[in-house]
C-alpha cells in the first residue's frame, strides 16, 4: 500500500522540527532533573563499584579506564533512553506527535540531539570521575573529545531508533537493553580502543578507531532519518 512509503525529508523543516524537539527535551530535563538527579549519580556509582570490584591497586584501574568508562556510559545510556521515550508514550503523547505535523525525521534528529547532549554532559562528569577515582590522565585530549562526540552520536542515534521501536511494548524496559547492547558493541570496542590510545599517547591508532565510530554514527543517523516515520507509526 502507498502508506508504507518512506518520505524524503525537507531539510529546512526537518531542522526546524529537530530544534523544537531538542529544546523541548532539554526543557523537560530542566524541569524534572531526572538525568541530573538519577542517571548521573547512577553512572558515578557504577564507576565507584568498578573500583571496588577490580582492585584497589590503581594500576589495574588506570589500564582498564577506557573500557570501564564506556561501560558506565553504556549502562547510563539505557536509563537515559528509557526516560527519553517514556515521556513520549505517556498519556497519548505518541498520538499527539503523529498528529502534530512534525516531520518524523525532525523528531528523530531532535530526540537524538537531546539524548546526545545529556550523554555528553554525563561523559564530562565521568571523565572527572575516572581522573579522580582511577588516577587516569589523558595525553591526547583532541582524540578524547572527538571520540566522545562520535561515539555519543552513534549511541544516541541507535538508541532513538530502538527507543521508538520498543516504546509502545509492555516489555520495553527489558527489550531495549537486549536490542541495544549487541548493536552498540562496535561502539564499545572502538571507543574503548580510541580512549586507550588517547590515554597512552598513541593517537595514531586511535584515529582509526575514531573513523569507525564516525562511520557507525553516520550510518545510524541515516537509517533513523529514513526509518523513523514507519517506526513511529508502528509504535
Amino acid at each position: 500500500m502507498s502508506e508504507s512509503r518512506v518520505s524524503v525529508p525537507n531539510f529546512g523543516s526537518t531542522w526546524h522540527d529537530a530544534k523544537l524537539v531538542m529544546v523541548k527535551d532539554l526543557r523537560l530535563e530542566w524541569r524534572s532533573r531526572v538525568i541530573l538527579g538519577q542517571v548521573v549519580p547512577f553512572a558515578v556509582l557504577v564507576l565507584v563499584l568498578f573500583g571496588f570490584a577490580l582492585d584497589p591497586d590503581r594500576r589495574v584501574l588506570t589500564e582498564a579506564t577506557p573500557g570501564l568508562f564506556w561501560l558506565a556510559v553504556l549502562f547510563s545510556t539505557l536509563l537515559a533512553l528509557q526516560r527519553a521515550f517514556a515521556v513520549e508514550t505517556a498519556d497519548g503523547v505518541t498520538d499527539a506527535l503523529r498528529m502534530s505535523g512534525l516531520d518524523p525525521a525532525g523528531i528523530f534528529l531532535g530526540k537524538t540531539l537531546g539524548i546526545a547532549i545529556h550523554l555528553l554532559a554525563l561523559e564530562v562528569v565521568l571523565l572527572a570521575g575516572v581522573t579522580l577515582f582511577y588516577g587516569a590522565t589523558p595525553h591526547g585530549p583532541l582524540l578524547l573529545v572527538a571520540t566522545c562526540l562520535a561515539a555519543t552520536a552513534g549511541l544516541a542515534a541507535v538508541g532513538s531508533i530502538f527507543g521508538v521501536l520498543s516504546s509502545s511494548l509492555r516489555v520495553r524496559d527489558t527489550l531495549l537493553p537486549l536490542l541495544l547492547l549487541p548493536t552498540v558493541a562496535p561502539v564499545l570496542i572502538a571507543a574503548s580502543q580510541a580512549f586507550a590510545a588517547a590515554y597512552a599517547d598513541a593517537s595514531g591508532d586511535g584515529w582509526r578507531w575514531f573513523g569507525l565510530l564516525a562511520v557507525f554514527a553516520l550510518l545510524y543517523l541515516a537509517i533513523g532519518i529514513f526509518a523513523f516515520e514507519p517506526l513511529l507509526e508502528e509504535s
Binding site: M1, S2, E3, D17, L20, K24, R27, L28, R31, S32, V87, A90, D91, G92, V93, D95, A96, R98, M99, S100, G101, L102, E233
Partner: protein
C-alpha cells in the same frame, strides 16, 4: 456544501476485531455532528479514523479531500483530535506544552497565548507543571492546544468529560466559534442533553455500524443560544 467527511462502507480493524463494520457517514463543512451510541459502538474509532490514526482497510473514506485508505497521514495536520488522553508532557508547564504543540503545528506564539487566555489558563496556571493539574484543568490545556492549532476539522471524544459547568459552557462556545470561523465539528458524547443542544444533527452508531441519522436537531440547535463565560476572544 463541501463534504468534509465522507465514509462509504468504511471498515476499520483493531487487531482482528472489526471496530467499524461498514460505516456510512457524511459531514459537511460548517456542521456540528454528534456521534451517539453505546460503549463499544465505534464512536472513538470513527474519530480516530478521521484523524488518520486508525487505518481504513476497506470501503471508501476521505476527510478534507484526503483519501484515508491511501494517505491517511496527510490529513493529520488539518484536523485536531481531543481524545481520552491529554497528549501533554507531565513535567512541562501549561505554557510550555501549549507553545510546543502550537509551534509544532506552525501556529504563531500569539495564537498559543490567545488560546491559553481563552481557556482561562493564563496567569498563575500557565507556569504550573501539567502533572500538578486536576483532570479538568488538563482537559482545558488539551483544548488550548487544539484551539491554538486552528484545525479545519475538530474531532472531540467526550469533550465535556471531567469539566465543571463553566468548562462545559466554554467548550460549547468553542465549538460554536470554530464553526463560525469556518471549521467543522464531529464529536462523541454520552451527555445527550447538552450535546444535542449544540449539535446540528446526530448520527447513531451501534456495533460498528451507523443505524440512523437524526436531522431534527438541525432546526432547533443553532450555535447561537450557547452561553459562554466572559473570557478574552481568540
Amino acid at each position: 456544501m463541501e463534504s468534509v467527511v465522507s465514509f462509504r462502507g468504511a471498515i476499520c480493524l483493531l487487531g482482528r476485531f472489526p471496530a467499524l463494520a461498514g460505516v456510512d457517514l457524511d459531514v459537511r463543512a460548517g456542521e456540528i455532528v454528534l456521534l451517539q451510541g453505546p460503549n463499544g459502538a465505534g464512536k472513538t474509532t470513527v474519530l480516530r479514523a478521521c484523524a488518520g490514526l486508525v487505518p481504513v482497510v476497506d470501503g471508501e473514506a476521505s476527510v478534507l479531500g484526503f483519501d484515508l485508505k491511501t494517505d491517511r497521514r496527510a490529513v493529520r495536520a488539518q484536523v485536531g483530535l481531543l481524545g481520552h488522553d491529554s497528549g501533554l508532557y507531565d513535567d512541562l508547564t501549561v505554557a510550555d506544552n501549549v507553545r510546543f504543540w502550537a509551534k509544532a503545528g506552525r501556529a504563531r506564539p500569539a495564537d498559543a497565548d490567545a488560546a491559553m487566555a481563552r481557556l482561562g489558563l493564563d496567569g498563575r496556571l500557565s507556569s504550573v507543571a501539567v502533572a500538578r493539574l486536576s483532570a479538568g484543568q488538563r482537559r482545558r490545556v488539551s483544548l488550548a492546544v487544539l484551539v491554538a492549532r486552528r484545525p479545519r476539522l475538530w474531532l472531540l471524544d467526550e469533550p465535556h468529560a471531567a469539566l465543571d459547568q463553566a468548562g462545559r459552557d466554554l467548550i460549547d462556545g468553542l465549538m460554536a466559534d470554530a464553526v463560525a470561523a469556518g471549521a467543522t465539528v464531529l464529536f462523541a458524547s454520552h451527555e445527550l442533553d447538552r450535546a444535542e443542544a449544540v449539535a446540528h444533527r446526530t448520527v447513531m452508531l451501534v456495533g460498528g455500524l451507523n443505524t440512523t441519522t437524526d436531522w431534527s436537531l438541525a432546526a432547533t440547535s443553532s450555535p447561537a443560544p450557547v452561553s459562554v463565560p466572559e473570557v478574552p476572544v481568540v
